[in-house]
Symmetry: C2
Subunit: 280 residues, 2 copies
DNA sequence: TGTCCAATGCGTTACTATGACACAATATAA
DNA sequence: TTATATTGTGTCATAGTAACGCATTGGACA
């Protein structure tokens, strides 16, 4: 896999802003983006990632807190001139979560002319007393490619440098004030996730290696916002033939210890490609 | 709906080329695109439309013949600076088919750096003895948003001005040599269509207002590349409750006259939104 | 240590959807 | 008029699904 020079993206600007706010200087990074960004990046296009995680029976999304406008934003970034779009999305994911090999799926493009909000960038730069020139590339219309990612909550290390600023897991049911059209993007991602859940073995990417059947069921119930019958759920899941039951149980809960399961890697990969039904 | 100035797109270039080839002049249109295109259009982004039609039991795609490279291309175009992406796709469809209100669905973005092929444009302009400057916007990397459209074959009038050049219905099984990554785009569209077929009432858009059950079945069989049981198919389709059986039969066939059906508009719209199954 | 309890593992039943096939009806061609 | 291929309607066995019963078990509590 090609390694691309890390230069950042729109969120890196936010991060930098917060870092630099302490020092009260204009970060060279920011200046560079302003002046040379249009040479480095594919103009007018960005990627935004809706990163799903599952923790304490809640479906959560990784969001950035943009303090100077008091809003949340999706982690995203620009696309380098010679970089595949998906690669850019992976780069953003790596930057934000420290995790490689994330399940990533493009789901939609958002490109209405009124989605671009110049005031966001302008406000950010104004914090440093810099006014972005009117014809600067940052202020033009931007079209963004939406990716959703599924990630094992437990693998994300909050101690990472990347996380020192602004990144937060936000409950899908408690989304606050979001920048631009990011709420619509999230809802679209959620809808896509719900649809894919029916025929893709999604649990694998959102749960730890070992997990129990009740945990898997809670995940499904949370995504679908719907109660499912315990016994029918188990029968269906086992019927797919992609789970291994281990000779271990998860003790510590207040009641009968449930078995631990893992995904059967080979069959899981096959199911990913072919789907779980495939009738017709 | 806002009306956007018709200025054309990448395919309009091809059309123009053929028109002008006879006259042996550089069309002002071409010159304008070369010189002012980057002001009129969103740079580096285009739309491409995979337009499906159904005729004589064959699933066909509307393609443009690009003679000077002896290849076929998807109808596509650029996106005006203040134009929604979907609007641009509708504009292309209207230009090519003369039909409004087409079923249109975004399905993927294609953006690998190596998909852009500068030689295509270069060759086109060279036919007129014009060499595109190296830094011209036409030669940069392009990312394209793929839309697929479903259209009633019988509504497309081949007499239209738009059709006077290069547009052809090509059987999905007899695709010839295609430009750039257009074959991959088509295959991706076809795959999407197959998936959506299972839960969207797609027949409506590919068939005339009145149609017979065998016709609907042939459509499904063609898209799925698979034989279906006649009786089970009918039961399932009627079970969806989105069809009206008329008190007419279609005579003229050599055998028993089949009933004619129409889609039940209200229920069809509902099914479009909610899908045909919706379990889970 | 023993009892209680809530969650889990496994199973049953009724119902619906699906695949495979039989037979009668009919519009045209001969 | 007859032959024929196609259509309309129905049946049956099976698989999948929804709803629910019951025994088991790990930890809490007395």
């Amino acid at each position: 896999m090609t390694q691309y020079k890390k230069f950042g993206g729109v969120q890196q600007i936010f991060l930098s802003l917060k870092t630099m706010a302490r020092k009260n200087t204009i970060p060279p990074n920011l200046k560079q983006i302003l002046e040379k960004g249009d040479q480095l990046y594919q103009p007018g296009i960005s990627v935004d990632c809706v990163i799903f995680g599952f923790h304490e029976n809640m479906l959560k999304i990784l969001l950035l807190q943009v303090k100077y406008v008091n809003k949340f934003a999706l982690p995203g970034g620009f696309i380098l001139r010679d970089e595949p779009i998906e690669q850019a999305a992976y780069r953003v994911l790596k930057e934000r979560t420290g995790v490689n090999n994330i399940f990533l799926q493009q789901f939609n493009v958002f490109g209405n002319p009124d989605r671009s909000d110049a005031t966001v960038h302008q406000a950010g730069y104004m914090e440093h007393g810099v006014k972005i020139p009117k014809d600067n590339w940052l202020l033009q219309r931007f079209i963004t490619v939406g990716y959703y990612a599924l990630i094992d909550f437990t693998e994300v290390k909050f101690g990472d440098v990347i996380f020192e600023e602004g990144c937060e897991w936000i409950d899908i049911n408690k989304l606050g004030n979001l920048m631009m059209d990011h709420e619509a993007i999230i809802l679209n991602a959620l809808e896509t996730l719900r649809n894919q859940l029916a025929y893709l073995p999604i649990g694998r990417n959102l749960l730890p290696k070992k997990f129990t059947m009740p945990e898997l069921q809670k995940l499904y119930e949370t995504i679908l916002a719907q109660k499912l019958d315990r016994r029918n759920f188990q029968r269906k899941m086992l019927g797919f033939g992609i789970l291994n039951r281990l000779n271990e149980t998860k003790k510590g809960g207040a009641h009968k210890a449930p078995f631990l399961y893992t995904f059967h890697d080979k069959k899981y990969q096959k199911a990913l490609k072919e789907g779980l039904y495939g009738s017709w």
